[in-house]
């Protein structure tokens, strides 16, 4: 899963950010360009000990991105990787609209997830004002005589912040989340969980002095019979303004495939779908998320249904898994001085799909 590995790799990168002295560009890059970026940052411990600086530069005309690790003893490791342009897409999700908000230290979440087998794909989070419960998700056709089910009950007191506006039971992909959990544990920061009823997305966010990250996962909606072909969520590209069309990225990210790994890696057009933007000038770090306003016409119609996916296929695969899967991982380095120009362009990255009209004029940095 892209986000998972991204998380682990970015954990390294998060640490490396402190050591970055010079970066020539802000950019998006896909942490798992078919595994080509990951090997650059493979050995975390070795990296921490040996690398003094990491310089990242891009050559847009050449479609090359260069990672240079300047290590001790004058050793310089240079990695030249090619990349492909990705098209900007938008995840629409208004965190502040979520009736349910939980905030908890990442340690607790890790302690909870440890009880589930690593092979457990999906997990259900069930909340009432009185209790919180994580349990293994089972499909209707699960063979119960072969499946071990695990359930963990927590009291609301264990959470740093606990707000349950509506009793809900949401099912999402645990595998994708584990990457963020590893990352947040390394950063030792609390995790905020925003969610709503089933079918609507759930967001896991962490925030730190230097960076913020947000995982937005689709949740399974049992009641809905309509199939939805999920729209892969992308982050906007801050510097490539030429491509705002969504021609390539309108492909459904899965054809009933439940495995997000295969889903996102199958379609080459979607490489840009889970970008992690590292903008790391420590002294003058700005979240230059110049979100381009994606022309409405290029999006598919949003019938205002639950789910952060913006598209729905009419008819489509009614019997196949209605499970929308997408994920987006946003990272940004933030400074306290925000330029006005940025502020003007800084549209909310995520707004609820069915309230977009109301929010047209609203400019708020929701993700960050």
């Amino acid at each position: 899963m892209k986000c998972v590995i991204g998380g682990a790799q970015l954990r390294v990168f998060g640490r490396a950010i402190h050591a970055i002295a010079r970066i020539s560009d802000e950019f998006w890059f896909d942490p798992i360009e078919k595994g080509s970026v990951l090997p650059v940052f493979r050995c975390v411990n070795v990296l921490e000990r040996n690398v003094e600086r990491c310089s990242i530069s891009t050559n847009p005309s050449d479609h090359h991105i260069t990672f240079q690790l300047l290590c001790r003893h004058g050793v310089v490791k240079t990695y030249n990787l090619t990349f492909q342009d990705c098209d900007p897409l938008q995840a629409v999700f208004a965190r502040h609209m979520c009736p349910n908000i939980l905030k908890v230290h990442s340690r607790l979440l890790a302690d909870v997830m440890i009880h589930f087998p690593t092979s457990q794909e999906e997990i259900t989070l069930s909340v009432t004002p009185m209790k919180v419960c994580f349990k293994s998700y089972t499909e209707e056709d699960t063979d119960f005589s072969r499946t071990m089910l695990t359930e963990i009950q927590l009291s609301p007191e264990e959470f740093d912040y606990f707000q349950v506006g509506v009793d809900s039971e949401v099912t999402f992909c645990l595998k994708e989340l584990r990457g963020l959990l590893v990352f947040s544990e390394a950063a030792s920061v609390p995790v905020s969980i925003h969610f709503d009823r089933c079918g609507r997305p759930i967001a896991f966010s962490i925030e730190d002095l230097l960076l913020e990250a947000s995982f937005i996962l689709a949740t399974l909606c049992e009641a809905e019979k309509e199939a939805a072909t999920p729209e892969p969520a992308c982050c906007p590209r801050p510097w490539d303004s030429s491509r705002t069309g969504m021609d390539k990225s309108d492909q459904p990210s899965m054809d009933g495939a439940r495995n997000a790994d295969t889903a996102t890696s199958k379609k080459p057009q979607q490489k840009g779908n889970t970008p992690s933007m590292i903008s790391a000038k420590p002294s003058n770090a700005l979240a230059k998320q110049e979100v381009k306003n994606i022309p409405r016409g290029s999006e598919r119609d949003v019938p205002g249904r639950a789910g952060a996916a913006m598209a729905k296929a009419a008819g489509g695969k009614a019997t196949e898994a209605p499970y929308e899967k997408f994920h987006s991982l946003f990272f940004g380095a933030v400074s306290y001085k925000e330029k006005e120009t940025i502020g003007d362009n800084f549209q909310s990255l995520v707004t609820a799909s069915d309230t977009e009209e109301e929010f047209g004029a609203l400019q708020s940095s929701q993700v960050l």
Binding site: M148, L149, L154, S155, E158
Partner: protein, 284 residues
């Protein structure tokens, strides 16, 4: 049919977990037999198991603070369940610092052993982790398949060398051959041998000692008159032996094996509160 049990003591819980881990290494699926006083983990010598069989017996009083069971009928006050020990092992793995562990036979979607682990938490109420492990209930008519195996009429009985040493020897031999020959005599000598086209390796152990077995009529063990030097050997699947040795997490109080020449090797590992017998048949 009812069963509920509770462990509160951490040492007992850890000990129990270790036993389950050992069982899980030996059998993918096995039978759990519950009686009023004891628990048994049984693997019968079906072909599917590669012919190896296992009998592990423990007294519930040594582990559980509460233990209540009601069998299928008054005169057959026992319960036989088929389960995957790895599931139980997994459920107990994260219970290292539990306040209590309760095990209950339930029937939700199907018969299950529900393991409820009460963990300490930062708040006033504990965290409860529940694992539902699916089990199969073995009907009464099949109980005869799972009787305690009798000690075979062995040729040699000998104490095993230090299990750690034996394990490392066997592990290295495993890389070279699929089969290993165990031979021993009544003078406390044991050899582990492998032989391939390219190489043959033998490891010799001596001064191991031979356990005294009283024969049924109360006489001295019938080793008198037997050649004390002659070796009894059996060639067995090396993986089975390696699994047995690798699964031992604690040194047993007594470890011995009985060899029936070319037929079967019978291992007995005794701890204070649990006994484990493992039979590995000889290959032709």
């Amino acid at each position: 049919m009812r069963f509920r049990a509770k462990i509160v003591d951490l040492a007992c819980l850890n000990h129990f977990s270790r036993i389950i881990n050992t069982i899980a290494k030996l059998a993918k699926t096995c039978i759990l037999r519950l009686t009023v006083c004891k628990l048994y983990f049984i693997l019968s010598d079906k072909v599917a198991n590669g012919g190896a069989s296992m009998w592990c017996e423990l007294s519930q009083g040594n582990f559980f603070d509460e233990f209540q069971m009601e069998g299928v009928a008054a005169e057959h006050n026992e319960i036989y369940l088929e389960l995957v020990p790895e599931n139980l092992s997994r459920a107990l793995k994260t219970a290292q610092n539990a306040k209590a562990v309760k095990i209950k036979l339930t029937n939700k979607h199907c018969p299950c052993l529900s393991v409820a682990v009460e963990l300490p938490s930062l708040s006033s109420s504990s965290r409860i982790v529940t694992h539902d492990i699916p089990v199969g209930v073995i009907p009464r008519r099949m109980w005869n398949d799972f009787k305690e195996p009798s000690v075979p009429d062995f040729d040699v009985s000998i104490y095993l060398p230090a299990l750690k040493t034996m394990k490392s020897v066997v592990e290295r031999m495993k890389n070279l051959s699929n089969f290993i020959v165990i031979e021993a005599n009544l003078s406390g000598e044991m050899n582990l041998k492998i032989e391939t086209d390219l190489v043959s390796v033998t490891t010799h152990f001596k001064d191991l000692g031979n356990p005294p077995w009283a024969s049924e009529d109360g006489c001295e063990s019938n080793s008198q008159g037997r050649d004390l030097e002659s070796m009894a050997e059996a060639c067995i699947d090396i993986k089975k032996l390696q699994q047995l040795l690798a699964g031992q997490q604690v040194n047993p109080t007594k470890a011995l094996c009985n060899i029936v020449r070319k037929r079967i090797v019978h291992f007995i590992l005794l701890h204070e509160e649990v006994s484990l017998q493992y039979f590995i048949p000889a290959v032709a």
